[in-house]
Amino acid sequence: MALRAVRIFVLVILASPSVAQACAVCFSGRSDEQREAFLATTGLLTFLPLILLGFGVWAFVRRVRRIEAENAALVERVRAEV
C-alpha cells in the first residue's frame, strides 16, 4: 500500500514538474538564457577538473617516457664506451 502511494506520488511529481521545483536555484531557470547559463556553468565546473587532471596525467606520462628514453640513451652510450 505504501509502495503504491509512493509510486503514485512520483508519477504525479513527474507529470507536473512546474509544481515540484524543489531545487534551490530553480526559481531563476525560467528563461532560455538562464537555462543556458545553468547548463554552461554546470558543464564548465564538471569537466574543467577532469580536463585539468587529464592534462596532468598526460604531461606526467610524456615526461616519464622522455626521461626513460634519455636514460636508455645514456646507458647505451656508457655501454658503448665500456
Binding site: S28, Q34, L52, V78
Partner: protein, 196 residues
C-alpha cells in the same frame, strides 16, 4: 666486477633516480589547478547572476570599459609572450634571458597599474563593492586576479634579481613562469565574460 662494469651500474642507478619534475614547479602546478577552479566558480556565479538580471549593467551603474581594457589585455598577453622568449633564451644563455624577463615584468606592471587607474575611474563613476551585484562581482573577480598578478610579478622580480646575481635555478624560474602563465591565461576568459 671490474671498474668499467661498476661505472656502468653507477650510471644506470643515477639514471633511474632522475627527478620527473622540480618540486617547486609541481607545487605551483597544484596551486594553479586550485586557483583555476576558484576563478571558474566565480565566473560561473557571475554568469548565473547576469543571466537572471532584467537589465545589464544594472540601472544607475556604469558600463565596464571594454575598449580601454583591451589595451591592458594586449599588454598582458605581450608580457606572457616575452616570458616565453625569456624561457627559451634561458635554456641557451642564462645571462641574456634578463632582457626578455625584464620586458615581461614591465609589461605586467603596466597591466596592474592601468587596472588600478581603471578602478579609480569606476569608483568615481559610482561602481562600488556594495552599489550593485555588478560591482560586487567586478571588484571580487578582477581584484582577485590583480592580487594574483601582483604576487606573480613579485616572483618574477625575485627571479630577475637572482638571474642578475647568476643564482637563478631553473626550477624556481619554471615555478615563477607557471604562475605568470596562469595569470596571463586566465585573463582573456575573465575579460570576455565580465566586461562585455
Amino acid at each position: 666486477m671490474n671498474e668499467d662494469q661498476l661505472r656502468l651500474v653507477g650510471m644506470e642507478g643515477m639514471a633511474r633516480r632522475s627527478q620527473i619534475m622540480d618540486s617547486r614547479a609541481l607545487g605551483m602546478l597544484i596551486f594553479v589547478f586550485t586557483e583555476i577552479m576558484l576563478f571558474a566558480g566565480f565566473v560561473s556565479g557571475f554568469t548565473i547572476i547576469r543571466s537572471a538580471a532584467l537589465a545589464w549593467p544594472p540601472p544607475g551603474q556604469p558600463r565596464l570599459p571594454l575598449e580601454e581594457t583591451a589595451i591592458n589585455t594586449a599588454a598582458l598577453l605581450a608580457s606572457g609572450l616575452a616570458l616565453v622568449i625569456a624561457h627559451r633564451v634561458f635554456k641557451r644563455n642564462r645571462r641574456q634571458a634578463r632582457w626578455p624577463l625584464l620586458a615581461s615584468i614591465v609589461l605586467g606592471a603596466m597591466f596592474v597599474v592601468f587596472q588600478g587607474v581603471e578602478w579609480v575611474g569606476m569608483l568615481r563613476a559610482g561602481l562600488t563593492l556594495t552599489s550593485s551585484v555588478l560591482g560586487s562581482f567586478f571588484y571580487t573577480i578582477i581584484g582577485l586576479h590583480a592580487l594574483h598578478a601582483v604576487a606573480a610579478l613579485a616572483l618574477l622580480v625575485r627571479a630577475w634579481l637572482l638571474l642578475q646575481q647568476g643564482r637563478l635555478q631553473p626550477g624556481l624560474f619554471l615555478a615563477s613562469q607557471i604562475f605568470w602563465y596562469f595569470v596571463v591565461g586566465v585573463w582573456p576568459f575573465i575579460y570576455l565574460r565580465v566586461y562585455p
